[in-house]
Point group: C2
């Protein structure tokens, strides 16, 4: 009871609270994204966060709550750039920007990508409802935009749903299969300009296709 529900000050967090919650979230992202929900242990998250398990459980009441928090954080960051696709913008430019942003996210925060992938692969016990309500609605909205673009002849006549899936798949692949990409490309995958190279290659394929021109 006197755990963390009690907020003597009006919901504001102390310096220590802010710091520790951030440490815990980063550790949780690391551990959950590699070991999955069932495979992760609170002990391991605490160790990674540099504090005792007891102390960690002072900030988050249970393993499930840590997980929920990490997932929610991830999902929100996901939605933003997708939502930002502008119906009034130039189709190719809008999609190019979206793909670029997603690739950047995969590059900078691959753990979040893997955490979400893991959740979905598990059958989405937590985000299942989110997927079929809020995300579906948002996707339907963007699909309508893409359809308009196609009708206006500003985009090739492709199935909008599968176009979105294809973009998601390719951009997240570089985070989710990071180890495989690195195993195949070797050290060049760690060089500075790599993410730009990826962006260029992916954009080239998705925008122009592979048929000779």
């Amino acid at each position: 009871m006197a755990r963390e529900a009690t907020r003597p000050n009006g919901g504001k967090q102390s310096r220590i609270q802010t710091e520790n919650r951030a440490l815990i979230m980063q550790a949780a992202l690391d551990v959950f994204s590699t070991d999955g929900y069932r495979g992760a242990t609170v002990d391991r998250i605490a160790e990674r966060a540099g504090m005792s398990k007891t102390n960690l459980l002072y900030y988050y009441p249970s393993k499930e709550e840590i997980y929920r928090s990490a997932i929610e954080q991830t999902v929100e960051a996901w939605l933003d750039p997708f939502d930002a696709i502008d119906p009034d913008g130039d189709p190719i430019e809008e999609l190019r920007r979206y793909i670029t942003v997603k690739l950047k996210m995969s590059d900078e925060n691959p753990e979040a990508s893997r955490l979400f992938a893991n959740e979905v692969q598990r059958g989405a016990p937590l985000v299942g409802e989110f997927l079929s309500t809020r995300l579906k609605a948002l996707v339907d909205e963007k699909v309508a935009v893409i359809r308009t673009w196609i009708d206006e002849g500003r985009l090739a006549p492709v199935d909008p749903y599968h176009l979105i899936f294809t973009i998601w798949a390719t951009t997240q692949h570089y985070a989710d299969f990071e180890v495989q990409v690195q195993a195949i490309l070797g050290k060049q995958a760690k060089k500075p300009g790599f993410s730009e190279q990826v962006a260029h290659a992916v954009l080239s394929i998705l925008l122009n296709g592979i048929r000779p021109r």
Copy 2:
């Protein structure tokens, strides 16, 4: 010792052995692919396979051995169609066939795809070496083929490595993110002709791109 290494008959399996090993492998695929290696329990696999844990451990000596076996089986099935890409065939036709086969595999055996994805996301503790040796060599070989095709003007000038990654990403997405795809597409994702629809859409995007023509 008198466990399963002993094969009084020259390595041949009895009817019961063949049956049970198959049951165990299917159960292992199901459980490992959803819960991951660490999250999966031998109890759960045994329950799914319809036998006692003790009996399961009579056929496979440890959890790790069950996992290894399931992974190896999966990896082999993976390699076949990739290896079958024919340097002497028509480039577009060869890639179309490869994409189609991979989509079919995702459709028919999504658990295997998720198992492999999970292994790689975990950092590929088991297949790491395989990735950087055998798979890398095979990929390098096919990259050379693609380069030749491009030089001959029979394929658009795209980065062969990223082309391969793009194909892997898109085709496996429909297995790994099955739940998400179904949440967004609703019941149409379960209709008979769905996998053909996916194949058509994905091929259209990858072959022709999304730029208006």
